[in-house]
């Protein structure tokens, strides 16, 4: 190396190379969105009614262009029975994946996900309690909604707890993760107690809830999740530069770059917990997406969060939609729960990625 004293020349072309580099990232992003759209259409075309890819495309477009005539039957299959399911899968994948990126960003630890903070076991506990006791407060709702609401409330309460615990001794990344992990075990223990004393029927319902499924989804569920995501996602995007700073070398470096680390950490924990809570209350515990999708995206595009966040979202959606399709066709007519398939699809991808990675990020 020689440090140059000639400080005025800036004709190295590095800036242009960087611009090309950004352009390529944008291209990757666009292509992956396109692939996701194709995957969605393909996923809608899979099922007992035997619709072709073309028929599905026409039925999908028929909603927006009234000049296209679509058979009533096709339209109803696509829009009433299949699209809600696929759309919830898309939203779930996006939400979980973005939550994962946020959590990994603020803890500087690539192995952390919202589930590390105990959100999933809190939801499982909430669902178990609702199944066991039926929570009379919400009698006007159907049983499914009682379960969803209780699971959601437990997630939120749990997040607040993690937060208060981590506040006792500043909000450092380590305290956050440790507090979350401790609570995680605590909820699991209570859930196990409930399992232990539950009737066989209730036990089955509890275990089934944690599997996660997109079966029987309606547009109203999709609407609730979309509203939450529409509010939270822009707020996540607002933090991209702060996340970049926090992943570049720890709290002190981030603060020396003008980042209010405590504030970003608070915002991110709240956002990712809210998103995760909403998603898993409706779908059950789909865990692995939070870890695989962000890592795949980082592997492809690097950890510039301006690009990482949207790419991780599309990868997450691809993973859940793809897993849902696999779960529907592999043992037809039995439908495998998404959470199981996600792991079967995700683990090989994950291991492939780890083994081919150029650098070791787990030093």
């Amino acid at each position: 190396m020689s440090i140059r004293n000639n400080r005025t020349t800036t004709t190295s072309g590095v800036k242009d190379k960087y611009r090309t580099f950004l352009f390529r990232k944008l291209l990757i992003l666009e292509v992956s969105v396109l692939v996701l759209i194709l995957l969605i259409v393909w996923s809608v075309s899979i099922g007992a009614a035997g619709l072709s890819f073309g028929e599905v495309t026409l039925a999908l477009l028929g909603r927006f262009f009234h000049s296209i005539t679509v058979p009533e039957f096709n339209y109803s299959i696509v829009w009433d029975s299949r699209m809600p399911r696929v759309m919830l899968a898309v939203l779930a994948g996006m939400g979980l994946s973005v939550s994962g990126v946020l959590m990994q960003g603020i803890t500087g630890n690539p192995l952390v996900s919202p589930f590390t903070l105990g959100v999933s076991s809190a939801a499982a506990l909430g669902a178990s309690i609702a199944i066991l006791f039926g929570v009379p407060l919400f009698v006007q709702f159907s049983e499914t909604y009682v379960i969803i609401l209780t699971a959601f409330m437990f997630c939120i309460v749990s997040t607040l707890l993690v937060f208060l615990l981590s506040r006792i001794k500043s909000s450092s990344a380590t305290t956050l993760v440790l507090a979350g992990t401790a609570l995680n075990y605590f909820y699991s223990a209570i859930t196990s107690v409930l399992h232990y004393f539950a009737s066989e029927e209730d036990l089955m319902a509890m275990v089934h809830w944690t599997f996660g499924t997109f079966t029987g989804v309606t547009w109203s569920e999709v609407a609730v999740v979309s509203v939450v995501l529409l509010i939270c996602m822009p707020l996540c995007f607002k933090e991209v530069w702060n996340l970049n700073a926090m992943t570049a070398g720890g709290d002190e470096v981030a603060r020396s770059l003008g980042v209010n680390v405590g504030r970003v950490r608070t915002i991110s924990v709240v956002l990712s917990s809210l998103i995760t809570a909403t998603v898993i209350s409706f779908t059950g515990v789909i865990g692995f997406v939070c870890l695989v999708a962000p890592h795949l995206a980082r592997y492809v595009i690097g950890s510039d969060h301006r690009f990482l966040l949207p790419l991780a979202a599309t990868f997450g959606a691809m993973l859940t939609v793809g897993s849902d399709v696999v779960g529907r066709i592999v043992l037809e007519p039995i439908i495998l729960p998404v959470s199981i398939v996600v792991s079967f699809v995700g683990v090989p991808l994950f291991i492939y990625m780890i083994s081919t990675n150029r650098t070791d990020f787990w030093k």
């Binding site: 020689s2 140059r4 400080r7 992943t247 020396s256 770059l257 003008g258 980042v259 650098t359």
Partner: protein
């Protein structure tokens, strides 16, 4: 040279550290009433054995840690009242450990140095500053490589480039040369000196290598158990008695010109 640069050259900079006291817990103080002045631009080496509070002092000066008593003044203004953003524009910080768990490119890392000025999209000027610093440190071949893939010395250069990209008025190094071989150590120090001369900024460096401090620092501040033991020009301050008192070792000192060469003696 532009008018702005001329103004910078003539403007006096002055950093006053006054009675800084700090402890991570209330029982034990890491720093006790540390007081010294950096009255003009130059390289100020902070010396002292492990645990004497060098890194903590730097963090207190940058307001990354908040001192329980005392004040830090820059050009007469207290830094305690400044916002995080204002502070980040003032200080360039090169940490001791600059590893990361995430795949971030050299260009992006140096661009982050501009973060205190970036709203959403980096401006052309931001990118120019990054390019300039990449060229200055000969990092062109690595610009789009991940920081993790570089050697320790290359990574150190990236961090220094990132700290300089924000055009700070005070540059703070925590053990900048600890992971560098002897040639790179000298290169970095020479470079820092030329930056000081060109931009008339204050450079605070925590170092272990007494010879490096003797050769390149304008002033040395020796800490012992959280207090300033001695401050002054390296030629006079780095003497046998002081080193004996602070490090508890005997040394021989050879003078070559103005520079002291310090050789530890086995006892």
């Amino acid at each position: 040279m532009s008018a702005e640069n001329l103004e910078k050259m003539t403007k006096d900079v002055c950093l006053q550290i006054h009675g800084i006291t700090f402890g991570y817990s209330s029982k034990r103080e890491v720093l006790t009433r540390v007081t010294f002045d950096c009255a003009k631009s130059g390289i100020y080496a902070i010396l002292g054995p492990n645990g004497s509070g060098k890194s903590t002092l730097l963090k207190c000066i940058m307001q990354l840690q908040h001192a329980s008593a005392g004040a830090v003044l820059f050009n007469g203004e207290s830094l305690m009242d400044k916002s995080v953003r204002e502070l980040s524009q003032l200080f360039g910080y090169v940490p001791q450990d600059c590893s990361t768990n995430f795949p971030i490119t050299v260009f992006d890392r140096i661009l982050l140095g501009r973060k205190p000025y970036i709203g959403w999209n980096p401006t052309d000027y931001d990118l120019d500053m990054v390019e300039k610093n990449i060229c200055m440190f000969g990092l062109e071949p690595y610009a789009l490589k991940y920081v993790n893939e570089l050697s320790g010395g290359e990574r150190q250069r990236v961090m220094i480039a990132a700290a300089l990209a924000k055009e700070p008025q005070i540059l703070v190094f925590d053990e900048p040369t600890s992971s560098l071989d002897i040639k790179h150590q000298i290169d970095v120090m020479k470079h820092v000196r030329s930056i000081v001369q060109e931009k008339s900024i204050i450079v605070l460096i925590a170092v272990h290598d007494l010879n490096l401090a003797a050769q390149y620092a304008d002033q040395v501040v020796i800490l012992k158990k959280g207090s300033v033991f001695s401050q002054g020009a390296p030629g006079t301050t780095l003497n046998k008695e002081n080193i004996r008192a602070v490090y508890d070792i005997d040394v021989a000192i050879y003078k070559r010109g103005d520079v002291n060469h310090i050789v530890p003696l086995e006892s």
